[in-house]
Amino acid sequence: MADKVLMKGNEALAEAAIMAGCRHYFGYPITPQTEVAAYLAKRMPQIGGTFLQAESEVAAINMVIGVASAGKRVMTSSSSPGISLKSEGISYLAGCDLPALIVNVQRGGPGLGGIQPSQSDYFQATRGAGHGDFRMLVLAPASVQEMASLVFKGFDLADKYRMTTMILADGTMGQMMEPVSLDMGEVKAYEKPWAVTGTKGERTHNIVNSLSLLPEELEQWNIRRYEMYKQIEETEAMHEEFMTEDADIVVVAFGVAARVARNAIVAAREKGIKAGMIRPITLWPFPKKVLFEKAKTAKAFISVELNMGQMIEDVELSIRCSRPVYLCSRTGGMIPTPEQVLQSIEKAAKENGGDKE
């Protein structure tokens, strides 16, 4: 087993990107993700890579488009307001079928909001990362280890499907220190015959493009992409379960909320309530099937989030509203306490007959 090192989430993420073969990073300072940039500013020159502080988030994402077009692994990172600025480029990445990795270490919003941890960009990441019909792979780490391993995985998925992967973390994951193993395994190489590498006089020119003025053609491009998305929904959804085997009350939570919920579930079990948790690791594709199956035996669901209730809609859709779904959340940079989650579990148990053995 590989040795573990003590690292900050943002730094583990940055190092994992290098291990995944990423040699180009473009960023712009914004709290609470600046450590990613600071780390790579130091590391990239040591390994012949590019670290560039762009003039804006808009420029940074377009530099990402440039490197991705040339067929190389590339990353940018930001926090909520900065991601909004990147949304134009995110849409172009999708329209051009370019693989790239974008990190959002979320903070409270809307507007300038605050700088404390938040999950209030869930809708933005899973629904509206930019204009047009498209999806983005969204991975939600709940530990420093996952800050690293999901970046590694994220690059692979991006290349595999020629899509953008977003790491949707929060300030806690970015700032927290934990032991992490950087043994990431082999980097899988993907052929990129579509990339603009120069024709070398050996082939006709490649064009990286999202424009079509023919509606029939544009429709077909979108349909093809959605056929692929459908396949991804079948095969790439990831989740973790905790004490769900016999659970009456199923908590659904990701990121830091899942860590809080875990404590509450243990406390609920001590009180005789059969609580458990499904932790989505991929927010898109959302682990719909698992929730749907669980709804056949569970009595109620609780969505624990650091926002006003965003993922709860996916929970309700997944179980097709067949069970009551409660919301337990704090927002604006506040984090729910285990006691708050426990109270929600007790309430849900009481109202749905899950409090009796």
Partner: protein, 250 residues
Amino acid sequence: MIVFEKPKALADVKLHYCPGCTHGIIHRLVAEAIDELGIEGRTIGVAPVGCSVFAYNYFNCDMVQAAHGRAPAVATGVKRADPNNIVFTYQGDGDLAAIGTAETVHSAARGENITVIFVNNAIYGMTGGQMAPTTLPGQVTQTSPYGRQVESVGYPVKVCELLSNVTGAAYLERVSVNDVKNVKNAARAIKKAFRYQLEGKGFSLIEVLSTCPTNWGLTPDKALKWLEENMMPYYPLGVYKDKYAEEAGK
């Protein structure tokens, strides 16, 4: 005997540009430079939103289509991905001097080793003739129907003059394609800008004064005359910066 050929870097397809538009000439000049320097196989062009976005169909080298104003940032990425490749952008005035001002200024400030072809025709062409950052005072457009009123919307942006103060910029020249003499001079400037990139000299921008007969509401010949009489006095031709000529002269 063949005495006149299409440049090899230019695709053998029909251009979509309006009659009398000078994009065709400028495309040809870029293609000639690529041919003469023998760099087609390692050249990558970036065509952002505007009339010339379809340039990706017209050049035989690899091409990337970019969002409005973002070409220099995309080009930065392409160039950094493989510095051995030759990267150029082909941008209009709205693109380069309005929505993409930051990308233009900062790619110049970084001394990014790319070549920017800046086509200035004083109007937004693709969207049907709106006021551009380079629209002349008093010039009538769809969004300046009473003529550009400098009191309320300010003055045109003179890009070469502006960038001449940017330390990172290596070579800036304003040329025109209104007559044979100026076309030949434009050809020389464009080729030099590509050569500078080959030599690793950094950021070059060639501003090409161009016509838009359709949106100016003029016939092609009258449009060329309008360019001469109105644009050339406001946007004087010439070299605005040549870092290496300056250094050589010292």
